[in-house]
């Protein structure tokens, strides 16, 4: 399984386009949104509500797009015959999906860490005083988001389906989950619906750290971490079922 992860990392870091989309594009969006929403690209405004919202909301949304692409690579491997060849090798078929999940988690972690380091350097977001809760929230958000990408791919049959499906689902989740507009500005009914979105739990967790200044031991904060971990675990469980029924079926 480690070999599968190493191979995916080698392919990722050898592909300039993937690197650009995953690591550079989110930075561009964060910068752009920060300037657009209230001229916030000034040092010293780090922990303002708008900056925290832009960094958290954009990071989670862009992460969901990235992991959908990673999930799509599973479909590519099936279409190229790689999956067939992997299934011939002496590994348990589930290791193939495990490898993809680990890879998606590594990329998600890298992407989120880079986003927050960028926000610290560019906008002065105070990450240094919140390292422990930030790391916990990054880990749980990465787990939930990466499982979302994998499960999306396990439902689709072609790369085009993954792209179409992921664009719609990510945009809807981002809209209702508070990536685009802060949740408190939304009507009550949308605020209630927001809990079904991964974005909601991630963004609220980052609000807890930087706006509400909750400690890592706070129950509300830990409940959000738990929610993200449960979402991730459930989606990964579903992905394994779908992988067996859909992806692994080669005719």
């Amino acid at each position: 399984m480690i070999e599968l992860v190493k191979k995916d990392l080698k392919l990722f870091f050898g592909n300039k386009q993937d690197m650009l989309l995953t690591l550079v594009l989110p930075i561009i969006f964060i910068t752009l949104f920060s300037f657009v929403f209230g001229k916030l690209g000034q040092p010293g405004k780090g922990n303002s509500g708008a900056i925290v919202h832009v960094v958290a909301g954009t990071s989670v949304m862009m992460l969901l797009f990235s992991v959908a692409g990673i999930g799509g690579s599973l479909i590519d491997e099936k279409q190229d015959g790689m999956l067939k060849k992997l299934l011939c090798s002496p590994i348990h078929p589930n290791e193939i999906l495990f490898g993809k999940i680990i890879f998606a988690n590594i990329i998600s972690l890298i992407q989120l860490i880079i986003m927050f380091i960028f926000a610290w350097l560019a906008f002065g977001l105070d990450i240094l005083h919140h390292l422990a809760p930030l790391l916990l929230m990054i880990l749980s958000t990465a787990w939930a988001c990466s499982s979302f990408g994998i499960v999306l791919a396990s439902f689709a049959r072609t790369r085009q389906q993954v792209q179409g499906l992921s664009t719609i689902v990510v945009l809807v989740m981002s809209a209702i989950g508070g990536s685009m507009i802060p949740i408190f500005l939304m009507p009550k009914i949308l605020q209630d619906v927001a809990v079904i979105s991964v974005n909601y739990w991630g963004i609220q967790g980052f609000y807890d750290i930087f706006l509400r200044l909750l400690p890592i031991t706070d129950t509300d904060f830990l409940l959000r971490v738990l929610a993200l971990l449960l979402i991730g675990t459930s989606l990964n469980f579903l992905a394994f079922q779908m992988f067996k029924r859909n992806i692994r079926r080669i005719t």
Binding site: K7, G81, C88
Partner: protein, 307 residues
Amino acid sequence: MIHVSNLKMSFNTVEALKGISFSISQGECYGLLGPNGAGKTTTISILSTILKASEGEVSIAGNDLGKDPLKCKKNIGVVTQEIALYNELSAYDNLLFWGSMYHVPKKELAGRLEETVDMLGLTDRQHDKVKTYSGGMKRRINIASALLHRPGILFMDEPTVGIDPQSRNLIFEVVEKLHKEGMTIIYTTHYMEEAERLCDRIGILDDGEIVAQGTLSELKASKSMKESVVISFTNLTDEAYNTLAKKWKDLQRFDDTIHFYSMNVQGELAKIILTCNECGLDFRHIDIQKINLETIFLSLTGKTLRD
């Protein structure tokens, strides 16, 4: 080495395999010959554990495929019909990956990789990205990736589809070398000349059934095959054909062409030509058809391999 008994496979309502059985001894090269859709790839997919058979038993090197697929997998190398390589990686990195997937010890992997790449004539280009390779080179790397763990059994599913003659010859040489070294090989193809050249025994698969199997000479003998002289005429009429049919019993007409069948075409060629002259027929083209797998297949199934 490999025993397949009453293997059946259905995809929804389609019966892809209708209970095929065959055995392959150690060191044998067994050819599965058949047109597209005959069931060759399905057979290979079941033997290489990608598909689970609907019915039947398979044992590979003494291991029951249904009960212990992992043990079976360790003994086999699979050259899939698709070129399954990562285009963005070099051939070397691709092989390194496949070697490690088959748990080749790290100490040995570099040596084996060098040896395999050399055997397939790709030493000079091994560090180039696969996407810069020609189709033939990719096919050779595809084969190399199945050999690194030194399997006792090799499944090759149409390994020469869509490649240049030079690469095809190189692949033939590699298969012959591996066969000589004692590897057991199952080779599927719809090119009869490949099966004739490479395989000790051949199973002819049609519509999910093995319609005949044996060595080439056994197959020839089993059908009491006749050779034929095929002549196209410029002025063939029904009347002329009826006159010919009275003089030559074993013949068949296809438009302006007649197939004259005989156990000894060479000896009777002059007589056939003389008979045609007597009927006032003018020749456009004459061809002698010896017995080969194509004619055997035609006589067994009533269709050509390209159908």
